[in-house]
Amino acid sequence: MKRRSFIKKAGLAAAGITGVPYILPTGRLFAATGSRVVNHVVYVLFAGGIRNQESVGQQFLMNQNASLPEGNVMNNMLTGAPPSGNLIHDPWAPVLNTPMMEHGTLFKEVEYKNGPTGHYNGHTVAMTGNYTETGLNLNINPDFPTIFEYYRKHSDPNESAMNAWWISEGLGPYPSLNYSQSANYGAQYGANYLRPQSILGNAGQSQLGNAVSYQPDDVDRINRIKNILDNNFAQAGEQLPGIQNTPENREQIKNFLLQKMEDTANGNLDFATPGNDPNLLTGDLINISAAWQVLDEFTPELTVINTTNLDVCHDDFSAYLYYLHRADYGIGWLWNKIQSHPVLANDTIMVCMPEHGRNLDRNNIVDANGLGAYDHTGDNNSRRVFTMIVGPDDKVVQGQVLGSPSNPVAESIDVVPTIAHILGFKDSVPSNLMPGRVLDEALI
């Protein structure tokens, strides 16, 4: 063999070895970028604005009046004794035998350092890993890439939106958070967005309730006629803005949604309530219940969900405690479901974080129980949140609590790089895009 030919062939062989994707023993195919901690992340934006005092501080009513009891109303996520009296939140028995914090690391004091403490801003910071000054509730895609785009561009081998889901309790600006305006990322790397309350609720049942699931043969028939018609028309319609699934995935998701609508109408959906009682559902619990259906069906690698009902705290502190207690139940219920799933169990890390806190001082509104309400206008207290990372005991440090009010140990922007590390693509993302750090202390 001539020397030049040998060098050329050797080079091609080396390129093949390093560049060709390989198949893991689990059957998963992905390019050789970085090693993963686990293959699934569920990121819960425990949102709506939650004060550390009532959550990880377990102070219950004590801040309203020093003579009122303190105690833990989040008995699925946190270890701690419940309030001894004045139980205005109609307590539910925990769904978990041991609280989630025993299965991972609680960063008890995390800073939301910069920018307005608005819900959209808080979500944007949590999902892009960058602080933003964007005004409240602007219905636009964020400037910086979202965690979905990083994941799909740098990690997902099939670049499939089926592996990335953003499931929100509310509409408004939230649908805009499934992809950014970034020139190098954008909709082609976005997540499937879903607002289950609309699809499974009145609007969906009224407007989509007659839709039928077609067999593949019938889908082929419709597409065959469509192709004939398209061949006789010179123009192709511009793609609709937003993410696009492949035709096969689109059919799968359509059939899934229609089935879940039917299950809901017939009372056959698995609800995140005691006794599977649909009458106990809140908006947050509907969202969590539907998120489980997505996880169970598609086992996505990256799922982000949120709660928002706790924002009632602007004018009803009692309802805020009620929703805090129920959202905690829902998150515990979801974690419990994951532990019994054949694919997700022992291969999933869950991260929980409020998008921002609430003010230290009450506003002027008093609820029916005589309790004062709280806004979130950017004082230091509204910049205090927590982060909980739970997962398998050989992947996540168990039962660890870090940080205190005088010693914050992390920032809101740290979750995105942490998820990027967990899913093995952190080093592929340009470092200037992710200013936060990996929360290594939580990982083994």
Partner: protein, 166 residues
């Protein structure tokens, strides 16, 4: 000579009146509840419908009435709740066609007079008559597949590129 010239001028004048400038006849068809201009061909369709136009025109085409405000509001909510807008539109269309309220011919009616069904469907969705070749193509499909239903054909028309334009 003068006579020949005069006769020539009269002849030319007559010809110019008879054939010189023939006015294009515009057809106006009254179609269901709305008056619609019928296109002579699909080359006139150059503007893409907005999502709102698409949904409201689709509703009118299928139900022969304008979309009620409450339905429009719920449709907007449902559409906002699904990130893949193509998928959202396909489910909405699927619901419309299978609602039982859309004026859709039965399979028996379609197969009793396939040519008429094809012409009606083209006028209904594309606001134009099909070319003979288009009739032939679709007729072959319908006659060659007994499981192809009017509902499926309506969905194919509503999902086609031509339907996205006006």
């Amino acid at each position: 000579m003068n006579k020949i010239f005069q006769l020539s001028m009269i002849f030319l004048f007559s010809m110019s009146i008879l054939f010189g400038c023939k006015q294009e006849k515009e057809y106006q068809y009254v179609f269901e509840v709305n008056e619609e201009n019928i296109y002579q061909s699909n080359v006139d369709k150059t503007k893409q419908k907005t999502p709102e136009q698409y949904i409201s025109i689709l509703f009118s085409n299928l139900f022969s009435t304008t979309v009620p405000q409450q339905d429009l509001s719920q449709l907007a909510e449902v559409r906002a709740s699904i990130g893949d807008k193509q998928m959202a539109d396909e489910i909405i269309l699927n619901d419309f066609v299978n609602s039982g309220n859309a004026s859709t011919p039965t399979d028996q009616e379609m197969r009793a007079d396939v040519d008429q069904f094809i012409e009606n469907t083209y006028i209904r969705f594309f606001l134009r008559k099909p070319s003979p070749y288009e009739v032939l193509e679709l007729k072959q499909e319908i006659e060659g597949d007994t499981e192809l239903t009017p509902e499926m054909i309506y969905q194919a028309f509503a999902l086609s590129n031509e339907y996205k334009f006006y």
